[in-house]
Symmetry: C2
Subunit: 678 residues, 2 copies
Amino acid sequence: MRHAFLRVCTPSHLVFPRVRVTSFISYRPSRLNHSSSRPNLPISLTPHSAPFPARTHTCGTLSTRDVGSRVVLTGWLLPERQGKLVSFFPLKDSSGTVQLVLSRSDPKPELQALKHVPVESSVLIQGRVLLRPPSARRSGTTGEIDVQVESFILLNPADPAMPFLPSNPYNLPNEELRLKYRHLDLRRSVLTENLAKRSKVAHSVRNFLYDEGFVEVETPILLRSSVEGAREFLVPTRTNNLASNSPAFYALQQSPQQPKQLLIAAGAVDRYFQIAKCFRDEDGRKDRQPEFTQIDLEMAYVSWGGENSKNDLKSSWPRDWRIGASQVRTVVESMIKRIWKEVENVELPHQFQVMTYREAMSRFGSDKPDTRFGLHITDITRELPAERQNTFHQSNEILECFVVSQSHSPEFVEASRNCERDPAAELIIVTEQNHSDWPLRSNILDSSSPAKGDIEFTNVNRKLKLKPGDTVWLAKRSKMSKGGSTALGRQRLQLLEYALAKGHITLPEKPHFLWITEFPLFTRSDDDKEVFAKGRWTSTHHPFTAPLWQDVAALYGGEVEAVRGQHYDLVLNGVEIGGGSVRVHDANMQNHIFTNILQLNEQEKAPFEQLLHALRCGAPPHGGIALGFDRLMSILCKTASIRDVIAFPKTSVGTDLLFKSPAGVAADVLKQYGIKPR
Amino acid sequence: MRHAFLRVCTPSHLVFPRVRVTSFISYRPSRLNHSSSRPNLPISLTPHSAPFPARTHTCGTLSTRDVGSRVVLTGWLLPERQGKLVSFFPLKDSSGTVQLVLSRSDPKPELQALKHVPVESSVLIQGRVLLRPPSARRSGTTGEIDVQVESFILLNPADPAMPFLPSNPYNLPNEELRLKYRHLDLRRSVLTENLAKRSKVAHSVRNFLYDEGFVEVETPILLRSSVEGAREFLVPTRTNNLASNSPAFYALQQSPQQPKQLLIAAGAVDRYFQIAKCFRDEDGRKDRQPEFTQIDLEMAYVSWGGENSKNDLKSSWPRDWRIGASQVRTVVESMIKRIWKEVENVELPHQFQVMTYREAMSRFGSDKPDTRFGLHITDITRELPAERQNTFHQSNEILECFVVSQSHSPEFVEASRNCERDPAAELIIVTEQNHSDWPLRSNILDSSSPAKGDIEFTNVNRKLKLKPGDTVWLAKRSKMSKGGSTALGRQRLQLLEYALAKGHITLPEKPHFLWITEFPLFTRSDDDKEVFAKGRWTSTHHPFTAPLWQDVAALYGGEVEAVRGQHYDLVLNGVEIGGGSVRVHDANMQNHIFTNILQLNEQEKAPFEQLLHALRCGAPPHGGIALGFDRLMSILCKTASIRDVIAFPKTSVGTDLLFKSPAGVAADVLKQYGIKPR
């Protein structure tokens, strides 16, 4: 049976003359052949290891231009569909799908064995391209043609008991099972397309930056441990730490921050870039990966002034970008515009909007505001009567609110009454009855001083222009913005989520890009970093960010909280996709930050020794940025998770279900590294 | 003094109007100012943190086209050279160097402070481009112009006590010190140029592959431990291995071999590439790095036949490339040709030479032969008298030699008498006296059977055509080639090294590319891998390489030593720069190799489980290659070590002298990972 198939179905010109196929197949122990259990099939399910010819075309690129040609195709065979006299088989490769036709009355009856080839098997087909009858023509490249099968070789049969069929979008198992069998899941067209798009964007980014004079430099992944804000991965070595006679470790780079600054300080490159792998051992945050990819830039001699600044610094300095590194802004905006043009065919505005951290927190309650919808926040402290104002002043707090108006924001009216509530935000529904004294329903206000009747809220009501049926969201917060969001900022997003889920609102198609600048340079650490900070100030972003030059006096004068940084975040549709800064290039200032502000001890400062030295050797002023490539791709591919734009992702707790890592290691292996389990 | 400088030397249009420079500098504690110890300088050595304008040009790109323009330049100030009436200062940035001129009788005497700026400081210069007097014009872009300084800002002073001056090529310290201060060493033009060239080649490679339909995919660096031939780096995690209640580890990828095969098996991409970071924890081999970079490719449905093969497999199959993956060969050759054309402006031959492993070992005594010079090796066993032949046959050995002839290879005559000798090779100098019976001087021959006088060596002498003064290098080896080189192969390279050092030979400028194919698929392990092999067969390259189809029978029949692989190495000037193969796509064959040939136990096979499953799911025939990017760049940049083409290299024992890694880690950090020092 096997001989007959190979002799008849493989046309003579496809068989290489010296291939003595039968002779070596007969050597193969039959117990290794999984076809042996299905002896009645008219086809051998043995993989083909003998020579075969090259394909002449890929499936998805065949078109009416090829009608009449004889072609050799390779790909995966998808389920048969029976017509009256013929059978149809889609043949798929990563370029697309073409339809094979096989007449059931073909003079070569052996061809009918194609029906017995398991779905998802790899096959080589030789056939002729036919124009479909007019009624059967469909749109798309291959929609007007078929390929009539003349012969085929089964290159590699698929196990008929595969865990799932990637070609069947209607019966997909849960993500966990698909991650376990990622090698099958990746055969789904949607993932194939995401990977192709990722490659295209990376290509576009690299070409753009190369043309802009950037030099791509690979920086070490095996670096030295240094506490920069997140937990690192360690790599044991077989080297002993001579001083302490204890094992020595590399640390995986969290980002190429120090190496790239050293490259610029050296003058090795004027403009550096790298699409860099970074590593953070963070506790399973939603949609984070222990390894992730950054588009990483750094530029020497970044300066002040707008795009057209030559010598005339005064007139060209943009009013909204009051910091240095205007070149970084220009390069990133141009790069993003190029990506959207090439990949989405969307023209973005000439310049992106810029907003200070202070304004973002005040108007949107977030340092990465989603500016695609309204519900702006208002500070109403000053509209309160003096006595109540005083209470807030004393605690250094303010009272904020946003209004969901029946007439101006009808899409959020239902959301406002039904969405999830932030514990620190209060909802008050304005009615005919409470229209003038609604604030008295507020626990925040009521407890701040005794009520005096409706007259006291005249100014508030004049400012908010409320009508019965409107809802007001209220919250107080400390006057100086802290952290990434306020209660009202979070509440605003809850409303959006509800309204989107219910279909009450459709967000604009066009992406909203936004720069946030002038962050506070230092913050009291959040829980995440507390393990390293131990009650000291921490850098909001990292310790290398330069202060606003207007705040240098405050930096040396000890007004730590008041110092703003020359930092910029790039926000897209309410998602932070990147951040960067002008760096400190003054060694003494950098040392002041390490020693007097962050209060690092000598051991903690040690990993920065070479940076301080480089700054002392004539390092130029410099600045840069890093963009999260996974997140950018996730937005471009419209996926729910970054896992869908990564070929082999890990789960949120860092497990790789396909490769089954992390895994145990034998004690004798650990011994070489001078370590053992506790 | 400071005020005066800032007021006078910074022209008014360069000062941003709102910069109250004096006010904030006065806040700066003077103890932080390292200029305070040198109070008599007519310039403040304080870094400039206030706004400054953008440069208008880079130094190296100014030319006669710019004569008369006013320019703003930034860069590093190099040592002053005094002319009669003027001083010259080279100003350097990463684009090149331009000469500044400063008249010693300039009406702005403050400008003279430039002389007191320490060498290698970062400065901003405003000036006017002048055409040099004819006698002072030099070649090169900036050789015909000067820039007359009109004002300057000292952006960042260099410490006058830097460990060395990178601009002084005549007084460089040893490599160890330069590695410690890599941030200074990288300011040397030669390293700057190497990094730029590396970026250019990577760019060229990516563009070429992208245009050829390759998709760049990032594969995980954090993978699972699997023994593939080299020692891995482990990465402890805070996850516990549930089964054993012991710590769990990732392993850093040694190469993306499994992930790339899975991508192809999945059909996620038809052609994959990645410029990939790989990691191996090898004992300090010469010129290896614990992390290195590969140009990594894999292609689905690779097949037999030459470039022009369509359906006519028979006529297009090249005689020298008797294995599959002809597409990989074509792509790599085209890519290499593109690189040499774009970077070196050299046209390489249409196709590269191909040689079997067997021929390479016989003629050159090496599996990466340097074919740029002669001294070919000859097997003279059959020319020996029958009795002596027999001795060799019995021990399954052969006798080989190469001749250094006074007439044909005069460049090696001195080398042959003076170079270092391989312990297993014998040198005999042919004289008038021993011309006919010289082999009797050989220990190898003499001990193999008793001498019978000169008549017995007639055939040998007829074959070798020796003359008095010629030298013969002799060695015996086992008949079946093993390993990477023979004694004569190593001796051949010793002669070359000597002749090159003495200047007796100049190798051709044109690179010699060569493919080596048909390696034995399995070998008895060398010492390097013995720790894993434990006396079993090991894969010569890796366990996924497919056998020659003609040798499949031998594979299943137990003739392990006779099985040749569909492997190919790419060799350039005697250096292996890459290797790849057609992969096994038959799950049963792969399992046979794991189980019956390599005799892996279940635990050792576990890391390959997903690959075996992927092969069972209709994986296409596939093949690929990985090229060592560091070594390729080292050859292109003509450097003695790959360290010179890596921005931040480690020493041969894996130490990073700049970042001071590896380093000790506190016990409480290790505790989180469930490990402790032994």
